[in-house]
Symmetry: C2
Subunit: 200 residues, 2 copies
């Protein structure tokens, strides 16, 4: 019955609320949250401007007990593993599905925090004609890349390395331009990666 969290982002959010900037580790974790917040604000911008509707899936929670005497307060629950990805939606008639990953490593993105369920999910998305990718934040370089899921899937399945080298992400990925509104130019990168000039 007890589920330990993979809902790490949420957990970190809670922790950070209490001891923000308390140590370097927390700062790193905050950056992960910043990355997520920046994605969310970018998607909100796209939504507000009628450009795409892509939303974050809520973190699944296993609710064990609800106290109805206190305004339906949940008093016993556990984070569950997300068996799919963080984000999905529709853009230019196409199904969009992606997972966001942040790394503070200067050399590679570790694969250990990508689950086999997520790889399987993204494979199915591609099979059914959807667009699937990873948004990868290379913290120390202050760069964000769109990396097609098929590349990550191949890498994951080859099992020759436990991480994707940064050099590969830069070569195979498309850099996400950063600005103010939207914070991340995600749609421009999707256009470049998945739509031909003539479609635009």
């Amino acid at each position: 019955m007890i589920n330990y969290p993979n809902g790490k982002k949420m957990v970190f959010e809670q922790k950070n609320a209490k001891k923000k900037n308390a140590n370097d580790l927390t700062v790193y974790k905050n950056r992960g949250i910043d990355f997520e917040n920046d994605i969310n604000s970018s998607l909100e911008y796209y939504d507000d401007n009628g450009l795409a509707i892509i939303t974050k899936r809520p973190t699944p929670i296993n609710v064990v007990h609800v106290d109805y005497s206190r305004g339906a307060k949940i008093t016993d629950a556990y984070f569950e593993k997300q068996s799919t990805t963080d984000y999905n939606g529709v853009y230019r008639g196409k199904y969009i599905d992606f997972e966001a990953k942040n790394t503070k490593s200067k050399t590679s993105l570790p694969l250990h925090n990508i689950t086999s369920h997520q790889i399987s999910h993204l494979e199915k998305v591609i099979k059914h004609g959807g667009i699937a990718f990873f948004l990868i934040s290379l913290e120390t370089l202050d760069k964000v890349y769109l990396l097609d899921a098929s590349f990550v899937i191949s890498f994951y399945k080859a099992k020759t390395r436990a991480s994707i080298p940064v050099s590969e992400i830069i070569t195979k990925g498309i850099e996400i331009k950063q600005g103010y509104m939207p914070r991340f130019e995600i749609l421009k990168a999707i256009d470049e990666a998945y739509f031909h000039e003539k479609d635009i």
Copy 2:
């Protein structure tokens, strides 16, 4: 800070676990849960057979406190309103988005439990080229219909009635065939409603 539940299905599930079949109301509520379970098992069948990947969005929960001394147990949290819809995914290259509604009324589907956020979300889905509909269970008739979201949106916006007459659902909707595997022939109805014969 306190969010009262619209996450009714989840709430009912909890309640039913304790007093199953205790009264007629509970039985009705159980039917709502049965409807949802039947949709979920149908989608699982489609997934397992490589036909489509459509998943249920988790109920959003506002987590106020997590007790890390007890295996990341959530001890204070509240259900939040789903601002989008229950289900989305990809089928035959198209983005699919739908909301499931169950009614025990013999005459009409009340609109009060469809939120303006959901209507707005479905409008955007259509605008961006996705397929958007409602799956409506008419409990007392033991029938399930796919009803295009644009029809529901028009009805909702006209504000001339607080509910959609069953006669309209039957006329404008496509009946979902019911069986064993899958329980609901959702994809067949999508084919009929949104794909031309030549595409199949």
